[in-house]
Amino acid sequence: MAKSKVQSLKSKVHGPRPVPDAPPYGPIATGLSDDDFKHGKVCTTRWTHDAKYAWDRGVAIGKYLAGLKRGKILAVTCGSCNRTMVPPRAFCEWCFKPIDGWTEIKDTGVINTFSLCYVTWDVKRITEPLIPAVIEIDGASKGMGIMHLLGEVDPKQVKRGMKVKAVWKPAEEREGAITDILYWKPV
């Protein structure tokens, strides 16, 4: 196969080709404008996805969520690498073996990094920023953080290394979800 292909390619070559001044070869794609959208020149459709996802919680996250419902943060440990990990998992992804047990850790922690976000998830502008953060939880190994939100804090005051504490939903309203922690506030 290879031989005949090579020969056919060779016959296509007509000496060196001109090199374009500035490759590639100038504009091709044509941008639509906002006006095209405004005046309905673009075919659009709105469709409500009639689909429901029934996610399994999984072994580890299921236990984590049950802990949150009781106002506790649970972590797992791996005896091989000596890590106490949160969010918990059923296996250690480093050692690729089952974890060695569960421990309850505190509901306090330290801000590893944060952002002041002025747009919502679907890019609507907001004036009061959302403050997502990676929070390293006390009792877990160093660097083990979870993503959550900060509250009851002046955006100007937030900084890395700040100590924070979880603000829980009232016990009767908790449903076993990450939102059972409303947000984290400075201590």
Binding site: V13, P24, G145
Partner: protein, 386 residues
């Protein structure tokens, strides 16, 4: 490392905010240009690799199959590779192993993205990359993870916004000479610092745009390459690596996944001292801090040293180590998968001395391109040389 593989032809459409062309049409335009650039026809292509990122953008499930006609995939061994933003560079690695294995003589690699389909803003599609139980209920925005990472990078090394804004200035200005650029502009550091705050420390001009576009390259084994061109650009090394999806458990100030991928690619290419053996670099720069992050991951400088190199002009087009002479994603645009392949295309032109007004000042014999994606966890690296 198998048979030698070269890039022999390249095609690229203009990157625009909303293309009138469909994804299939963009793919065809880029593929046709790539074929024409080396005088080949589709009959001489043995296999096709399509790179295109999330299906969610287009609302077409199994988008690779949908786009296959435009990429010339009909009746040929065709596959789609997808590792989020890392796709563009990864697709060349995929094409490489098709040809290096000896299974195929030639491979057409096409990357296409049309982000404008998703209304009102492609950003909202990204909510589905987060864990559905422990993260999505917090209504995360894609900007969060970049802002968190950028803040971590800044605080770890005591950087100011100015140190990072210089990357946006450099790349958007470099893009002025790119005929396919979407948002080239002679901006200043002040412009970046005064732009709208989206998710502190990320501001409007720190971010690449939402784009539509396509890029294609043709890979060939040595015997074919020598016949269709007298200036083949060799794929000297490929590498790819994934970090854990427990991204909040990682140290966000250093991209370890890039280092792993770079080590794999450098080993294959025989690069032992990247600082001196790499002459031009196209790291992935969807955000300005990301270029710095990735320069460090590619071991082109020590940890925390990239901002100083940028300030000293080392990474400028006429500097000692030109970085993103194309203008990068910040200047040329960011149609996700196509943006990664644009970096490969730029190295092709730079190494052949065909980059026109964008040609770098120093003599370059070897370059590295890198892309990154998924939940901030994949690194893909390709080393090219002449």
């Amino acid at each position: 490392m198998g048979n030698r593989v070269a890039i022999v032809g390249v095609g690229m459409t203009k990157f625009v905010r909303r293309a009138l062309e469909t994804g299939k049409e963009l793919s065809w335009l880029a593929s046709k240009m790539a074929l024409d650039s080396c005088g080949m026809t589709m009959n001489q292509i043995d296999s096709v690799v399509m790179g295109t990122a999330p299906d969610t953008f287009d609302g077409v499930h199994m988008k690779g199959e949908y786009l296959s006609d435009g990429a010339g995939g009909f009746g040929k061994p065709y596959m789609r590779g997808f590792v989020g933003g890392g796709t563009g560079v990864f697709s060349v690695a995929q094409g490489w192993y098709h040809v290096a294995s000896g299974m195929f003589d030639t491979c057409l690699v096409v990357c296409e993205e049309k982000m404008s389909t998703f209304q009102p803003h492609a950003q909202a599609a990204f909510v589905t990359i987060f864990d559905h139980i422990i993260e999505r209920p917090l209504k995360p925005n894609l900007l969060w993870i970049f802002a968190l990472e950028m803040n971590r990078y800044m605080t770890t090394y005591g950087l100011r916004k100015e140190d990072i804004a210089r990357v946006a200035v450099k790349n958007k200005t470099n893009a002025l000479y790119h005929p396919c650029a979407q948002i080239a502009a002679p901006v200043t550091v002040e412009d970046v610092l005064n732009s709208e705050v989206l998710a502190w420390p990320v501001q409007r001009l720190d971010v690449s745009p939402v784009s539509d576009g396509a890029v294609a390259v043709i890979l060939a084994n040595e015997s074919v390459a020598r016949r269709v061109t007298d200036k083949p650009v060799w794929v000297e090394g490929c590498g790819w690596a994934l970090d854990t999806a427990y991204w909040t458990n990682r140290d966000l100030c250093y991209p370890r996944y890039v280092e792993e991928a770079a080590r794999m690619a450098y080993k294959m290419a025989g690069v032992t001292d990247p600082r001196h053996q790499i002459h031009v670099a196209e790291p992935y720069d969807p955000f300005d801090y990301k270029e710095l992050h990735h320069m460090e991951g590619l071991m082109l400088c020590g940890r925390g040293e990239a901002p100083q190199l940028t300030a000293d002009g080392v990474t400028a087009r006429d500097g000692e180590l030109p970085v993103c002479p194309s203008g990068g994603l910040l200047g040329v645009g960011n149609p996700i998968a196509a943006a990664g392949l644009m970096k490969i295309a730029e190295l092709f032109w730079q190494l052949r001395g065909e980059a026109g007004k964008r040609q770098i000042a120093r003599k370059a014999k070897r370059g590295v391109a890198q892309a990154w994606g998924d939940l901030m966890q994949v690194g893909t690296v390709v080393v090219l040389g002449v």
